[in-house]
Amino acid sequence: MADAPLALARVTKSFAGRPAVRELSFEVPRGSILGFLGPNGAGKSTSLRIALGVLAPDSGMVSLFGRPPRIDALRRVGFLPEERGLYRRMSARATIAYFARLKGVPARQADARALLLLETHGLGDSAGKPVSKLSKGMAQKVQILSTLAHDPELIILDEPFSGLDPVNQQGLEALIVDAHARGATIVFSTHVMEHAERLCDRLVVIAKGEKRFEGSVPEALALIPRRATVTVANGFELGAAMSGQGFLAAAESECEGGRRWRVDLPRGRDAQDALRAAIGSGAPVTAFTPETVRLRDVFVSLAGEAAPGDTGVPGPAETGVPGKAA
């Protein structure tokens, strides 16, 4: 925990008696990009505000660079809140420089850095314009640049992609990748799985204020049973033939090439093993499709209404995934 830039231990927070976060624990390893996933209202923003000391937890502990989240530690953090806003009459350049100065960057350096960031990200011409004269996308970009202007070691972005058009989303992804390459540790919350899939090496999934998963992306993907679809001709009884080889196959429907069977892939066996087993059993295979597991499926399974265990998805203890059960 001491080495992790950010760690939460058994954090609980309620508002007016209604629990928002319950016994939440996770760590953000140094140099990682951690996706903090959860549906709307899961408690992501509250958790991040607690992590940054904006809100005090009812119980539990937060460690930011090995210390409580106070200003000296927060100087090393760049935070983009979910609810964005800037001083409307301040210019883009002054805004970025102001927030950099608040984080301890010397005034002259902050101003130069602000201009450089704006020029690098295509806003050089708008550097002197007040925020109120910028488009929504440009203003969001200014806020994101404000988050990064002091070269933070830990960057926490709350729903950073929301409200951005695809071009700007791509630009933000590039910014995240750049910051990561520079050595920053990044945490971002989202409920858009494509971003998490592309960027993250670790995930924490929460729902209803409780952690449902913590681990790497492959570990998350492994939570969903992998399957393949095999189509066989001539009414071949694939279920009986595959069961002898350790595969569970169930008939699904009739189709043009014969009957379609769904084959579950047990742990340690992949789609190629299933195909070899089917052909080896003499099945007249006319079509074979390995199913790709997407993070979206994992997310829906984990963050659905039901608690873990009720979803049909094995819990971390059953899967052997090193994540801690919530």
């Binding site: 940054l52 200003i71 927060l74 809140p81 806003g85 001083y87 409307r88 009459r89 927030f99 608040l102």
Partner: protein, 477 residues
């Protein structure tokens, strides 16, 4: 500390670069100047009014004219005394004596002022009422002139008849009633002058019957001894009360009013600034960059610097006007105001008053999402802020009233009333205790402000929720 500076700097620059700030900076002294100068200008611009007297004799009309001229001479004497404020006592007394002698000699106000030969040019106020011969012998005959349908030719050109006084006499020739006729039912100078003239005539009649010469009576009226206000010095010496002695009271009143004006001005700065941050969702970004206490301190300092800029600019404008006017009375007034107790009261009052009220507005602003919401809160606040102003207006005349003294210990009013009472030279312990009281109350206001601000800014609480939240926190303790 650097973060406090950064926040203060941003707050200051945000307002000082807004055109509204400069508009306020320029318009406030202009407004005050208009407020001070305009009544005098209105009075000075009053047109000359014609009046006439319908009477069998002329002694009443002469007495009335003397009374009206006497009042003008009184105003001329005050103007003359003001112009002599910077002169030596001997020069001043000599000039005033020359003026009085000229009046006794029967000279009018203009001639008496000229005879006084003051070193600074001074003029008697212009005549506002002139008597004209009646254009008709009866009230009915005067009607077209009184209603303005016909104009009278007189020394100041053609004008309607402003007023007519119809004197009724009994069989013995004594005045039994004077009817005053005028379209203007508000102006009361002529009826008042008529009453005084009647009293003078009645007294003169009695004295004449007692064998006194009418000329002697008239001279005696003009040769009244003056009342000289004197004061006791600390070492037993006495001296005449001058404008310099009264100056601290006027300056204290002005300072007290300035503090009120200043607080009234900053309401908008603080509330609007906080609403902008709340509605634009800037708080989370700020609170992960700067401590809440530093954020509030920065805001208070930034807006205080703004106030200092306003006051500094106004002081420069006032100083420039003072130098330009080269009015010795004004210069001596300002010089007399520089007293340690007044400066201590003003400094402490300004600082504590600012912190108390600024903390209050800051906290309230943090509970509002919109200007409309803030306006609903502002109304009771403005009324609350008006109370010290009303108290100040009354306390200017009676700063030693026990009620005013008691109210000076009520922290929200202390800054205003302490400044106002400073020229009375209250005991030092009282002033120090009031400074301590204000300091304590300001600290309390700041403490409460931090809590309310946290509830409003961080937890997004509304006014009612903030009260509930504070109540819960108190219960938890």
């Amino acid at each position: 500390m650097r973060s406090i500076y950064e926040v203060a700097r941003r707050e200051y620059l945000a307002y000082v670069t807004a055109w509204g700030f400069w508009l306020g900076l320029i318009l406030t002294p202009v407004g005050l100047l208009v407020g001070v100068v305009l009544p005098g200008m209105i009075e000075g611009s009053q047109p000359v009014r014609y009046y006439t007297v319908l009477d069998r004799g002329d002694e009443f009309s002469r007495a009335l004219a003397r009374q009206i001229e006497g009042w003008r001479a009184d105003e001329a004497r005050i103007a003359l005394a003001g112009s002599l404020a910077a002169a030596s006592t001997a020069d001043r007394d000599a000039a005033m004596d020359r003026f009085a002698a000229a009046r006794v000699a029967g000279l009018d106000a203009d001639q008496a002022v000229a005879r006084a030969a003051a070193p600074t040019a001074v003029k008697a106020p212009p005549r506002r009422y002139l008597e004209v011969a009646p254009p008709a012998a009866s009230l009915d005959g005067l009607r077209p002139w009184l209603t303005g349908d016909s104009l009278l030719s007189g020394p100041d050109g053609d004008k309607p008849l402003f007023a007519a006084l119809v004197v009724s006499r009994d069989a013995a020739g004594a005045v039994s009633e004077i009817a005053y006729w005028s379209e203007d039912v508000v102006a009361g100078e002529i009826p008042s002058a008529a009453s005084s003239a009647l009293r003078t005539l009645a007294r003169a009649a009695i004295l004449e019957r007692a064998g006194l010469d009418p000329a002697v009576i008239e001279r005696a009226d003009l040769d009244l001894p003056s009342v000289v206000e004197r004061k006791l010095g600390e070492t037993g010496e006495t001296s005449e009360v001058s404008n310099a002695d009264r100056a601290p009271f006027f300056v204290a009143s002005a300072m007290s009013f300035m503090l009120w004006l200043l607080i009234f001005s900053i309401v908008n700065f603080l509330i609007m600034g906080t609403i902008e941050e709340r509605s634009n969702k800037i708080f989370d970004t700020l609170l992960t960059s700067v401590r809440l206490t530093h954020l509030l301190a920065g805001k208070l300092i930034g807006v205080f610097a703004l106030c200092a800029t306003l006051m500094g600019a106004w002081a420069i404008i006032a100083g420039a006007m003072l130098l330009r006017s080269a009015d010795p009375a004004l210069v001596s007034l300002v010089a007399a105001a520089v007293r340690p107790e007044l400066l201590l009261a003003a400094g402490a009052g300004f600082l504590a008053g600012y912190v108390m009220y600024a903390a209050l507005f800051l906290a309230l602003g943090s509970l509002c999402d919109t200007i409309q919401e803030a306006q609903t809160l502002m109304s009771p606040l403005i009324i609350f802020l008006m109370v010290p102003l009303f108290v100040v207006v009354i306390a200017i005349r009676t700063p030693d009233s026990p009620i005013v003294e008691a109210l000076a210990w009520f922290p929200p009013f202390t800054p205003f009333l302490m400044i106002l009472r400073a020229p009375l030279e209250p005991p030092l312990w009282q002033m120090l205790a009031q400074v301590a009281l204000m300091g304590g109350f300001a600290a309390l206001a700041l403490f409460a402000s931090v809590r309310v601000y946290r509830a409003g800014a961080v937890n997004g609480a509304s006014v009612s929720q903030a009260w509930a939240w504070i109540g819960r926190k108190r219960a938890e303790r």
